[in-house]
């Protein structure tokens, strides 16, 4: 019997074998991954046929559209972001009253002096209205017009006039979805479509046919259904209490709108400090844009705010509507082929200048309101004050045309500076006329201006000008 050989320990050599095995395994896995991505990225660029599911007429739930249009829907969902900030805007609740307490003075006696915040993305249209301090429970249904794709459905059921006349709080249970697909798209054809009658009616009154516009114009006009100046028209003869109307009959410039409101003797509220009958401008974004260079070059709202995007070789429109400053390389740089930082600084330098012009006009306007109040304290009557009240109304309407529009004047910088110059000039004309009036009443000392340097101080100050308040003395005795 031979001595059995000791079993060769599997030890060192086998371990080497497993090492080689493992190394090859990892290498094959990584190589396979690379191969798979090459094929995947090649396949994604091939247009696939899609079977579209029919979408119901007036379908206000955007998630029902998502199956057919997943990329558009996913990017639309991104308007949920509420923490994006640019130098002067973004999608968060910027408190305009705290940033510029002059707003409290200028909107005294009106709900905007109570709460005035920047609106967030389209996803918040309904909740922002429910949460705002400008209580809508007493307002007409007209207030809902731009907030939800449920509105076209309700208008189709009840007719626009009845919709406007129904109290907002009665409509509230029907307003379920925030701005979405059905606001701009025909569910059968996906074509862009105007769902709000006010824009169609404004076109008709100007003798223009909204059906005769190009697709490129539609990429602006769907936005212009809401991003415009409007007012609630009262027409006793038609039994209308708050019929949504755009004041464009004479044109979309600020002077034409001013003339329109003068002709209608319309005012939103009476200013308690000056006693002037005021008009509030609401975001005239489309009107201002139409005076700018981008409109001149036929660039639509969607070109910058919803630029085309390619994902996996598939082109679609980015429905994350936001400031192009948050998406410079995808929006501006398509035409302006510079670096992102350079484009941003160009835009911000334009906005900085508008901010300067706006502040100058704002300060003159606040003082103009107090100058008129001082005249009243010196004994001037309504008849003597009629002229200065008209002037301050015109001045503030112009300032608000620029201040209330989104983009801080960027949509038409030169036009905005021109209007701010007029606003400041009219405010100073008011003040010069007041000085003359005061002199007539024997007051030659300067007006004593109260302190409105913070939101709280300004809000306390305007309360003293209410009916039962005791305003501070503005003239030296």
């Amino acid at each position: 019997m031979t001595e059995p050989t000791a079993p060769v320990p599997a030890g060192p050599s086998a371990r080497k074998g497993w090492l080689v095995f493992g190394a090859v395994l990892v290498a094959v896995f990584v190589l396979g991954l690379l191969l798979a991505t090459i094929l995947e990225r090649r396949a994604e660029s091939v247009q696939r046929q899609r079977v579209l599911q029919p979408i119901q007429a007036w379908e206000s739930d955007s998630s029902k559209w998502a199956g057919n249009w997943p990329r558009e829907h996913a990017s639309w969902k991104a308007t949920e972001q509420k923490d994006t900030a640019t130098k002067y805007g973004g999608s968060f609740q910027h408190d305009y009253l705290a940033i510029a307490p002059a707003n409290v003075i200028l909107f005294a006696g009106y709900a905007f002096s109570v709460d005035y915040k920047q609106a967030r993305g389209h996803q918040y249209a309904v909740s922002d209205v429910k949460e705002t301090g400008r209580d809508i429970s007493t307002k007409p249904g007209t207030c809902w017009t731009c907030k939800s794709p449920d509105v076209p459905r309700l208008m189709a059921q009840m007719g626009p006039a009845k919709f406007y006349d129904t109290p907002a709080k009665d409509l509230m249970p029907e307003i379920k979805h925030s701005i979405g697909c059905a606001d701009c798209h025909d569910p059968q054809t996906m074509a862009l479509t105007i769902t709000r009658p006010a824009l169609v009616e404004a076109f008709e009154r100007q003798g223009k046919d909204i059906k005769a516009v190009s697709h490129q114009e539609m990429r602006t006009l769907v936005c212009a259904q809401c991003h415009v100046e409007y007012y609630f028209k009262k027409d006793e003869s038609k039994g209308q209490k708050a019929y949504l109307t755009f004041p464009w009959d004479k044109g979309m410039g600020v002077e034409e709108m001013d003339a329109y409101y003068d002709e209608k003797q319309f005012s939103d509220w009476t200013h308690p400090i000056s006693g002037a009958k005021m008009v509030k401008m609401q975001h005239p974004d489309y009107e201002v844009y139409s005076k700018g260079i981008h409109a001149y070059r036929n660039v639509s709202c969607a070109d910058c705010h919803m630029p085309y995007k390619t994902e996996g070789g598939q082109k679609f429109t980015d429905h994350h509507i936001q400031s192009p400053l948050l998406n410079i390389s995808q929006s501006c740089a398509v035409c302006h082929r510079w670096g992102e930082a350079e484009i941003k600084s160009r835009v911000e330098s334009i906005q900085d200048k508008i901010v300067h012009g706006r502040a100058v006009a704002e300060d003159a306007l606040c003082k103009a309101h107090f100058d008129i109040a001082a005249c009243k304290q010196a004994g001037a009557g309504d008849e003597e004050l009629a002229e200065v009240r008209k002037l301050v109304r015109k001045a503030q309407l112009r300032w608000d045309y620029v201040a209330a529009n989104n983009g801080l004047g960027f949509h038409a910088p030169q036009e905005c500076q021109r209007i701010l110059a007029d606003a400041a000039d009219l405010a100073q004309q008011t003040r010069v006329a007041c000085v003359r009036l005061l002199a007539k009443k024997g007051v030659t000392e300067p007006v004593i201006y109260p302190d409105w340097s913070s939101k709280e101080k300004a809000q306390a100050l305007i309360k003293t000008f209410a009916k039962d308040g005791t305003p501070p003395t503005l003239i030296a005795k």
């Binding site: 050599s13 086998a14 090459i38 630029p307 085309y308």
Partner: protein, 199 residues
């Protein structure tokens, strides 16, 4: 030592065959990857090579509709042409960057020249248009000066540029993995007439 390594001498005999097979699989997969990714095409100057990645569709299509298509390929402008070492070194460096960006899905929506590519492209503009810009009283480019395309903005890719601007239109179809790879060199419609020889 090397011989032992090559013959897998360090492994127990029973391990050798399976490991040879595993290494064969690995090598085969490697060759397959080279084939499927059309790696050999990258040695050529054919513009269709750049179309291996669909993010180049708009660059290709706009060039294909420009006057430059008759006289210059992608490489004529985007790769240095001063000497062969420079040419291939730059091509390899840029190629690695492009393929890794594409694989990791980091491509931007609007592609612009990188800082390194700017002087290369300008040099290539001057290379062909020397008679126009080579006048003795014109000085060489200095920092702060405009580049050629700051004025000639539409040359050759058009004024409006993003991945979405020239979508799939007239882009050549790439050959399948079983097709003759040379088909790609003139994929789809051949955009260029045969080069004329100068008399």
């Amino acid at each position: 030592m090397l011989k032992g390594l090559l013959s897998l001498g360090f492994l127990p005999a029973a391990w050798k065959l399976p490991v040879w097979i595993a290494l064969g699989v690995f090598a085969g997969l490697g060759i397959l990857t080279i084939h499927v990714s059309r790696a050999p095409s990258y040695m050529s100057d054919a513009p269709e090579t750049c179309m291996n990645c669909h993010v180049m569709t708009q660059a290709y299509v706009t060039w294909n509709h420009s006057s430059h298509r008759n006289v210059a390929t992608c490489n004529d402008c985007h790769v240095p042409q001063d000497n062969i070492v420079n040419t291939y070194a730059f091509k390899a460096k840029d190629g690695m960057r492009h393929s890794s960006m594409f694989t990791l899905r980091l491509e931007p929506q609007v592609i612009q020249l990188s800082a390194g590519a700017v002087p290369v492209v300008e040099q290539n503009c001057r290379r062909c248009h020397n008679q126009l810009v080579g006048d003795v009283h014109l000085r060489a480019w200095q920092p702060g000066d405009n580049r050629c395309w700051d004025c000639h903005r539409e040359v050759p890719h058009g004024r409006v540029q993003s991945l979405s601007t020239a979508f799939d239109v007239n882009a050549p179809k790439l050959p399948g993995v079983l097709d003759n790879p040379h088909k790609m060199q003139s994929g789809g419609r051949d955009p260029r007439p045969a080069k004329e020889t100068k008399p």
